[in-house]
Symmetry: C2
Subunit: 240 residues, 2 copies
């Protein structure tokens, strides 16, 4: 990012870079903590996740404002403009990852009194490990402006979809076995959808890396024909 | 939007304006059709919604590219820059509204063979009327750059949340009454969440109108303490 004639321009780009790295750190921790809080019925940890979201929102606003201000002030062309548009997009995706983690944490608070957390929670934990890894890979690809790494992360979103199929089936079975499980499992259904969407935002970040390095969009269809944030292929096989 | 020294700049802004109006029309129709397809078990209509999403995605890419190109070419300041950033945001929200309508349509296809659509579908229809109206109001506020109208739409997102509470409770009751309802109602739970999120994107559009006219963000907390796309306050009261 060095080499601009105007030194303060470089400083602005560096600040934006640092803000996004900070957002990435906060978001990753929120995702891990939210599912830990859910699985361990840990109300305190869940409340920390909810609180962290305010900080993430603040960082996003700061990033976006600085990026817009930099575009207006420096009037960048081509690759520099893509850098700034890319930063706005990545910050937006990370803000939404935080929202999704907060949703999970809020459900964790609601069900923290529940004594019978079903076996399907293991599937949720596994999904979350995949989502966290995907997010980390996408953020690394962004930090390194590494297109190959971004493409690899993009492809791996499939794993998460397969896992969600299986969690969905588990939860439905559990609901059918005993109506007393229905309310709890309805919460967990939404949690698994939230985790899947965290993976989708990681995939968006990977797409942004490709865009800002090459100037090109990824093919409009994701693996398995998905491009949207929460396509519902997952339930087709799960109907009983 | 007139009055710029460069005529072709005005033409670019007009084109962006027209693209967003077109996106709004497509998105509104998709939302209405998706829930009609769901309630009427109309597979053909649902497939039209899925097809329309491709067009909406194309329009979004076109809008975004033109806005970025215009920023790079014309190097606009202050209000003009906000216009272009605002256009990118609104196009992004409309694209996601389309994704959510597509999700509902895909579920409509899956459950079209189902003969016993539960009474809760009436609640879903009502939710969708409110969401559609909200979207229309937000888009009108955008077309007119009308801050008062935008603020009014923003406030009304509450209605939709209250309705979702009630639909959620209905669906859970229905699941508990008969385990054979569980799979179908799980689909409808996700549909009601999708409709709620359509309302959230309409609210985002209203926020963008305020930003692009005044340069200010809305307060960070929405009515009922919500800022995110799908906070789950709705289930707190519904647990049984």
């Amino acid at each position: 990012m060095a080499g601009h004639t105007v030194k303060s321009y470089d400083r602005e780009l560096d600040t934006i870079e640092r803000l996004i790295a900070e957002m990435g750190g906060v978001a990753e921790k929120m995702v891990v903590d939210a599912v830990d809080a859910l699985a361990g019925a840990n109300k305190g940890l869940a409340q920390q996740v909810v609180a962290a979201d305010l900080r993430l929102d603040g960082l996003q606003r700061e990033t976006e404002e600085l990026a817009v201000l930099t575009i207006a002030r420096r009037q960048p062309m081509a690759v520099d403009l893509r850098e700034l548009i890319g930063a706005i997009r990545v910050a937006g995706d990370l803000e939404r990852v935080g929202d999704l983690a907060k949703n999970i944490a809020k459900r964790a608070i609601k069900i923290s009194a529940e004594s019978r957390i079903p076996r399907a929670i293991l599937g949720l934990r596994h999904m979350n490990e995949v989502a966290t890894e995907l997010l980390k890979d996408a953020l690394d690809a962004y930090a390194q402006r590494n297109v190959e790494r971004a493409r690899a992360a993009w492809e791996r979103d499939i794993d998460l979809d397969t896992l969600e199929d299986s969690v969905f089936r588990d939860l439905l079975t559990h609901m059918m076995e005993d109506p007393r499980n229905i309310s709890l499992c309805a919460h967990l259904l939404f949690c698994s959808k939230n985790i899947e969407r965290i993976g989708d935002h990681a995939t968006n970040i990977a797409e942004t890396v490709v865009y800002l390095v090459t100037g090109e969009a990824m093919p409009s269809e994701r693996p398995r024909g998905r491009r949207v944030t929460d396509v519902d292929h997952d339930v087709a096989e799960a109907r009983t």
